[in-house]
């Protein structure tokens, strides 16, 4: 069965080719069947393989397909690695991906058939790249997938390419990702020169003998790649803009899967990070800073998708905090629960936008609970889950990270907890403003309000169930010994030293106390936000600090002034240089020759006497040269 693992990415690739090549002749129904069918098949295959991986005593299997690059002593096989970590990601990607494909069939139904097929082909290509990313047995295959998902993200953000702003958002995402990718690429080259290999197992075993400085350098460069892909400070600004794409795309790419690629990569290289304490600290601090920073921005956003986008950035920051303090299992756990509840929230938001006829401003919504019962209930479950209220999934994964953070340093814990409170606050602000109170949109919109079709509500319900119960996969030791199924499952892969042990060393009492504290605070803050915004939402333009937050701390403006403008200036200077100096030289040579030719042409008078005179002068000149100049 495991030898068939190559089918998992190949099926979406086939879907991409079919939908992409025959987009002008396929009907929408056929496109949907192909697009969703390949994903479902991949999901079933993943489940079957999961059945094998789950068994006790399973060892990681590498399936080599062919030799990809072979130069001198460097061999990079095109190989897939099946182990506990990759199968978990496979299940998340194909499972959540299938639900989102299904949802898209209804959400994108207004598109013309060729564009509909284009959308699905991009989506399938994305899933293919993402599967390649998590299945690759070495950093190069991972990088191929890494670039592939970046490309698909670009294509899908700019799906409505006729809108200039959407196109700009797509370019921003692509360029920001490229900056990170450069770090990743350098890290790969460094690995090749240091270890002579990029295969995970060989790099990790080689790393034990390498100096700490080298490992720190490589891990920091890898982290630069991760900050780009996973939207961390300072490269996070592309993710909120990426909301220009269709909402299911935001759910799949910019919440559930692609942005977790950085987490996956660092979790995969946990053996490297465990050897470089400096890098771990950097990861934790950047993650924590991003979590807090994005959460403050989310407090004042009024675009339903922007709130979710900043909450995604914030949750990703959490995951990096988990990675940085050594709670690799916690981070992967949070990836999983986050995939469920954030996909749910985005799809719920999509359902709301669909009902509102494209309106995204929550100030113009309100009271949608009556019109959209399924959406509002599932959205509520998503909010509860992300806010960290037990027994929903977000509580368990967030708590595991917070506990590990506490073990590393109480400062991490306090900031993390504060961020968790902010999260609860803005999520319930969003929920209350959108779903309760009275409707504030136009009369026409009110008339148009309707619950979404079942192709959209079924994914919502499935994800809501998952978001509610997924937390039980990782019940902390303190509550119920030996009930952390996920940790047990992942232990062969994530055996990083440090954090995990530290978390265990904490006394049971402390851990329970921390848990109660975070759960209690989340509940109180959620209730506060709910009661404050349910009847009188925040409609006025913010002022003071709120204005700074609403304008995202002016980071985009800062980047514009510090990086974009000077680059434009440089580009203008280069244009000038190119136009006047380089073109001037090239054209000048041409013009000189033309001018010289025009002048010399006059010598051709046709007068034989003139020619003879010139000939004699020439001979005389040669004669004089021979006589006086030579020697």
């Amino acid at each position: 069965m495991i030898n068939l693992v190559w089918l998992i990415p190949v099926l979406p690739l086939a879907g991409f080719l079919i939908n992409g090549l025959f987009r002008n002749s396929l009907s929408k129904g056929m496109t949907s069947v192909v697009g969703c069918g390949v994903l479902l098949a991949s999901f079933i295959l993943s489940l079957l393989i999961f059945g094998e991986v789950r068994q006790e005593g399973f060892h990681a299997v590498t399936v080599t397909l062919f030799d990809f690059i072979s130069v001198d002593k460097l061999h990079i096989p095109f190989a897939f690695q099946v182990d506990q970590l990759s199968i978990l990601f496979l299940l998340i990607i194909t499972g959540v991906g299938f639900l989102i494909h299904l949802y898209s069939t209804a959400y994108m139904h207004d598109e013309a058939a060729p564009h509909f097929a284009r959308y699905f082909s991009y989506l399938n290509l994305f899933v293919f790249s993402m599967l390649l990313l998590v299945l690759g047995a070495n950093f190069v295959i991972l990088f191929i997938g890494w670039e592939g998902v970046g490309l698909c993200s670009y294509l899908l953000i700019g799906y409505w390419f006729k809108n200039i702003e959407y196109g700009n958002a797509a370019k921003k995402a692509f360029i920001m990702n490229r900056i990170g990718d450069l770090g990743f690429l350098i890290a790969i080259f460094w690995m090749i020169s240091q270890f002579g290999s990029v295969t995970f197992t060989e790099v990790f075993s080689g790393a034990k003998g390498a100096s700490v400085g080298v490992i720190t350098g490589i891990t920091l460069l890898l982290f630069v790649g991760a900050t780009g892909k996973s939207a961390q400070i300072p490269l996070y600004t592309w993710l909120p803009d990426a909301m220009a794409g269709p909402t299911p795309v935001s759910a799949l790419i910019h919440a559930a899967t692609m942005v977790t690629a950085g987490i996956y990569m660092i979790a995969r290289s946990n053996a490297l990070y465990s050897l470089a304490p400096v890098s771990q600290t950097v990861v934790a601090v950047i993650g924590l800073a991003t979590a807090l920073f994005a959460a403050t921005i989310a407090l004042k956003q009024n675009d339903i998708k922007k709130v979710l986008a900043y909450s995604t950035v914030s949750q990703l920051g959490y995951m990096f905090l988990g990675l940085g303090v050594g709670a690799y299992t916690g981070a992967v756990f949070h990836v999983m629960t986050h995939a469920f509840f954030k996909a749910l929230l985005f799809l719920g938001a999509g359902s709301v936008i669909h009902a509102m006829g494209g309106e995204q401003d929550i100030r113009k919504m309100g009271g949608l609970r009556k019109a959209l019962p399924v959406t509002s209930i599932t959205f509520f479950i998503g909010c509860v889950a992300i806010a960290g209220i037990p027994p929903f999934s977000g509580f368990f994964s967030k708590d595991e990270i917070l506990a590990a953070a506490y073990a590393r340093s109480p400062v991490y814990y306090v900031i993390g907890l504060f961020t968790a409170m902010l999260t609860a606050f803005y999520m319930f602000r969003l929920f209350a403003t959108t779903f309760s109170g009275s409707f504030r949109g136009t009369h026409e919109q009110e008339h148009h309000l309707h619950e979404s079709p079942s192709a959209m509500t079924i994914p919502l319900i499935v994800l809501a169930i998952l978001a509610a119960v997924a937390g039980f996969l990782g019940i902390p030791e303190a509550l119920l010994p030996n009930a952390h199924v996920l940790s047990h499952f992942l232990s062969p892969v994530l055996s990083g030293e440090g954090g995990e042990h530290a978390a265990v060393e904490m006394s049971r009492g402390t851990e329970l106390g921390l848990m109660a504290l975070s759960a209690g605070l989340a509940l109180i803050v959620s209730f506060l936000a709910w009661s404050r915004f349910k009847s009188k939402p925040e409609l006025a333009e913010p002022s003071g600090v709120g204005k700074v937050l609403a304008n995202k701390w002016y980071v985009d403006e800062l980047y514009n002034a510090v990086i974009v403008r000077p680059l434009y200036g440089l580009a203008k200077f280069c244009t000038w240089l190119e136009k006047w100096i380089i073109d001037g030289a090239v054209n000048g040579v041409g013009r000189l020759v033309q001018y010289g030719g025009r002048q010399l042409r006059l010598l051709q008078s046709g007068q034989v006497g003139g020619y003879v005179l010139l000939m004699v002068i020439g001979i005389l000149a040669l004669f004089l040269v021979e006589l006086f100049v030579k020697k």
Binding site: S605, Q607, V608, G609
Partner: protein, 109 residues
Amino acid sequence: MPINYYIFLALALFCIGVAGVLTRRNAIIIFMCVELMLNAVNLLLVAFSKMHQHALALANPQAGIDGQLFVFFIMVVAAAEVSVGLAIIVMMYRNTHSIDVNFLNRLKH
């Protein structure tokens, strides 16, 4: 006679030839001036040949003979040139009813 005399004579003939080619417009006269230049060179060749023969006669009786041989070649070539050149001039006269070379400026087009 000292060799200088021959050199000066040849130089004078050559310069007359050059001046004639440059200044005259009659094709026949230009032609004669070209012949004059050729013969100036011939004269010089013969003069140097004779000088070398004198100087080297004891060591090598054949010395300097090649200069005089060259002269014959030049005369043969000149004769051939005359036949071609005169033919051109005749054709030119038939076309333009003139042997003024300034009429031949149509080459530039």
